[in-house]
Structure formats: C-alpha cells, structure tokens
Symmetry: C2
Subunit: 271 residues, 2 copies
Amino acid sequence: MTDEPSTAEEIMDGVYRALCAHGYAGLTMQDIADECSKSKSLLHYHYDTKEDLLVAFLDHVISDFEGRVAERADRPPTERLVEFVCWFVFERDESERESFHIALLELRSQGPFNDRIREQLARSDRLLRGTVSEVLVEGIDSGVFRDVDVEETAALLVATLDGARTRQITMAGDESEGPAYTRTVAEATMSRVLEPLLAEGVELPSIAETVESLPARTGEEPGEGRAAGEETMDEDATDEDVMGEGTTDGPAADATDGSTASVTADDEDSG
Amino acid sequence: MTDEPSTAEEIMDGVYRALCAHGYAGLTMQDIADECSKSKSLLHYHYDTKEDLLVAFLDHVISDFEGRVAERADRPPTERLVEFVCWFVFERDESERESFHIALLELRSQGPFNDRIREQLARSDRLLRGTVSEVLVEGIDSGVFRDVDVEETAALLVATLDGARTRQITMAGDESEGPAYTRTVAEATMSRVLEPLLAEGVELPSIAETVESLPARTGEEPGEGRAAGEETMDEDATDEDVMGEGTTDGPAADATDGSTASVTADDEDSG
DNA sequence: GGTCATTGACTGACTGGTCAGTCAGCAGGG
DNA sequence: CCCTGCTGACTGACCAGTCAGTCAATGACC
C-alpha cells in the first residue's frame, strides 16, 4: 500500500498514455513529459536515452503480463486455454486497447533494428508460447486433452491470435465486415483447433462466457485506490499486456506488485 | 518487351531497395534517390510528397500481386490452396524477402494514422481473403472440399499465416528454435485446418513439393531483360507481394499490365 | 535550534543534426 | 525559345540530448 505514485510509475504511465495518443513513430520525449506533467529534462535525468526509456517500458509491460499469467496458474487447463484465446479478442469500441496495440505493433516492427527491443520481444514470445505449452502439458497429463504436439499447437495458436489482432488493428478504419476480426478468428480457432484437442467427453467453456468472466475491462469495475491524484483523474487501465502478446485488458497497472493507483487512461492529451 | 526501364520503374525499384536496406522508419527521400541514382528533387518532381510516393509504391506492389494471383486462377483448388500457404513460408536465409516484409510491417503499422495507407491495406485484405474464398467456393462446388463456412475459413487462414510471418520476422535475430515459425505453422495449418476440409478421398499436395514448384525465388532463375542498366546491377527482385499479404518472391515487376512503363503513379498536379 | 554544505529531483533554454520540401536554373529536343 | 526532365543548394521545422542552474530535503557541526 504505498501511497503517492512514485516518479518511476508516473513516467511509465506517461509513456503508456503518450503511446496511445501519438503512436510510437510519432512519439517525442516532449509528448511523454506532457503526459506525466514533468519536464523532458527529467526523463533524461532518469533515462539516458529515449531508447532506454522505451526498453524499460517494454520490460515493465511484459513483467506485468507475466504476473497476470501467474495469477491464473492454478485454474483448470480447459479454462486457461479459453482465457488465453479471450485475451486476444477485442471489440471495435475498445479504442484505448486498440491504440495501445497499434503502438506495440509499431514497436515490434522495430525489433529487427534494435537488439534490446528484440530481446524483449523474444522474452514475451517465450512467455506466450510457454504459457500455452504449460497448459497443454497439464491438460494432457490430467487426461482432458489428447496427446498432441505441444510446441506445434502453441506456435499455431499464438500465430493465429496474434495475426488476427494485427489485421484487426491495422485496418481499424474498417467498413462493413461483420464481427471484428479477432472475434471471428477466435471462434474458428475454438471449433477447428481447440475442440479437436479434447479428450472424449470433455468440453470447453464458451468464448462469450469467458470474456465476461475475465478481470475488468477498461472503464468497468469500480476501481478503488485513488491516491495522490492531481488533476489527473485517471481511471486506471495502464499497462496492457505484452508485446505482440497477451492481450490483457484495462486496469491492473502493477497488478503484479499490488501497489497503488497507477494508470489513468486516455482523458487528457496533447493540445 | 519495352526496353530501357522507365523513370517510373526505376523509382519504384529504388523505393523497394531502399525499404529493404533502411526499413520504413529509417527511410529518407535521399535513401530512395541514392538507390535509383537520381536526385531527391526528381522524386519530388514526380511525387509531391513522400507520402504520395509511398502510397504509389504500395499500390504498385499490390497490383503486382493481384496479377500474380490472376495468373494461377485456372489451377485446381487443392493446389491453389497449398500454393497460398506456401506464399507465406520462408526460410531464415531469405534475407531480402525478410527485409522487405519487415518494412511492409512497419508500413502497415502506420495504417491507423494514414487513410491512404489504410485504404491500400484494406484493398490487399480483400484480395487475400477474396482469393481464399474464391478457391474454397470453387472447391466446394466441384466436390473436393466439404461445405464449410467460407468466410470464416478464409479469415482464419489469412490471420494464421500472416501472424506466423509477423512473428518470424520480428524476432529474426532468433536463437535456438527449430524450423522457422512460418514453416511450423504452415505444416500445422495443413494438418489441422486444411485437411479436415477435404472431401472423402481427396488429398492435398505437400508443402515441400509446392514450395519447390513455385515460380523463382529471389536470386534463382536466369532472369532475362537486363536493359539500360547503369551501375545499378540490381538483380530484379522488385515488388514482392502485398501488404501483410501474399508473400511472393522476387522478379515479376509489372507482371500485371504487361503494358509499358505504367506505374509512374500519379505524377501530375499542383507543382 | 540555527547556519551552512551537500545531494537528489527537477526545469527552461539552448544546440546540433536531420530531413522534407522549395527554388532557381540548366540541358536538350522539338 | 519554350517545355519537360532533372539537379544542387538552400530553408524551415522538428527533436533528442545537454547544460547551467533552482529548489527542497537531509545531515553535520557548533
């Protein structure tokens, strides 16, 4: 229960909000400074370079997701599997999540040019595929899943969900199209990839139910600890999930280290 | 058989090479000018803004892919389907293709911020999903495929392959890992998504065979028309495939409209 | 308990480099 | 001699990073 958000937290929140507002390509140190009501010089005081700051942010976000995965480790494999799928599903009106994932995609596309970013990407890939593998192994051992190729299944699942999300966000200014890309693909994945995995008589929970049951999405759920808040009347919803990774949702913040307020969301901004 | 490459073609080639060499984020007009041995001012003479040039390039690349799809329209559905999968498969040593797809991913991530880019992305999405749908419908009509949900299957297939490629290229500086991501996922897709689609007694060609049978990959195949070449001894390998799209390979150029120069795009206007 | 030194957090103004886009002008063919 | 294709030099904007300095808190010494 520490109170007042530390400067470090405020900066991470600022990066988050600035990324949502300006994307990665259009991100300046000044944007970040503005979002956390600090000076650009302060950012350089804590982080030598912009790259340092962004890498620290990535690390922060992935660690947070890691914590979220760990929290669910003791649930039954069938449920964890569907929850995993649901982390990637998001509707067209979740604009903050969308903005954040767009920025993450921009960041990911810089992996090939930046060792430190790529390192974080690899870490999150390990986390994602590892999580699926773990769930599958547990399910196979306990007899709810058939004895399939675990690594291959994990690779397929992660690629599919990630691909669906990427396509959904890059073409956000849609037009027509029925349900969101991720929704369609998640349903298809359930019936064509996951169900054939089940042992005789076993069933998966539905996506609809599972999505509902997942921890608060941005804007819902009361939220509680409101601390030192200044004029930033932030809700919470900070770090999302991981790289091209988990999908996560809103609040959480440092869910990992149950600390305080955290985040805010999108109120504000530039001009 | 027009001879000397038109300025328009040279510029498109320059954009392609510059994108491969510098990526999209690090791309300057000077880089492009250098790659086609022209001046930066010339680029502005033909295209008012950098954005105009990049959009024209995207359009060029997608049209080229369109032509490539059309060329194969009369092959049997089972083969077209596997060929589609194979367009996305690439090995770790195909570094030019990889560089180009990295740049395309960067470009795609700008879709949400740029209407004209997003328009091209939507176009290529229609092309990709439409192609798969068309193949499926043809196969269902002729009895080689079961009567599945065509749109859902197309969405699943495209998302999966695109996702696999995205993950492979963003973590290129790999470490360990067995076969490339796209290879693993393509195989998994074949056995878990495509094979269950087949009617009794029908079989799909293998990925290995199909990859081999596809038109030249970068660097292979003699290549013929070498014209006006200056010191730019470019192979050819110009436009690849589409957005997050098809995968295509090297040569091709203006396969689509055998016409002359074509391209140029939209010189014109203001100035 | 009052003065002074030190240090950590933080800021505004500045600098140097980069890059898209402009402009005046040149070659050559019709 | 004018028009098209093309160029080199220049400009203005933007931005990461620096620097000199402010301010508050902490602690030391008398």
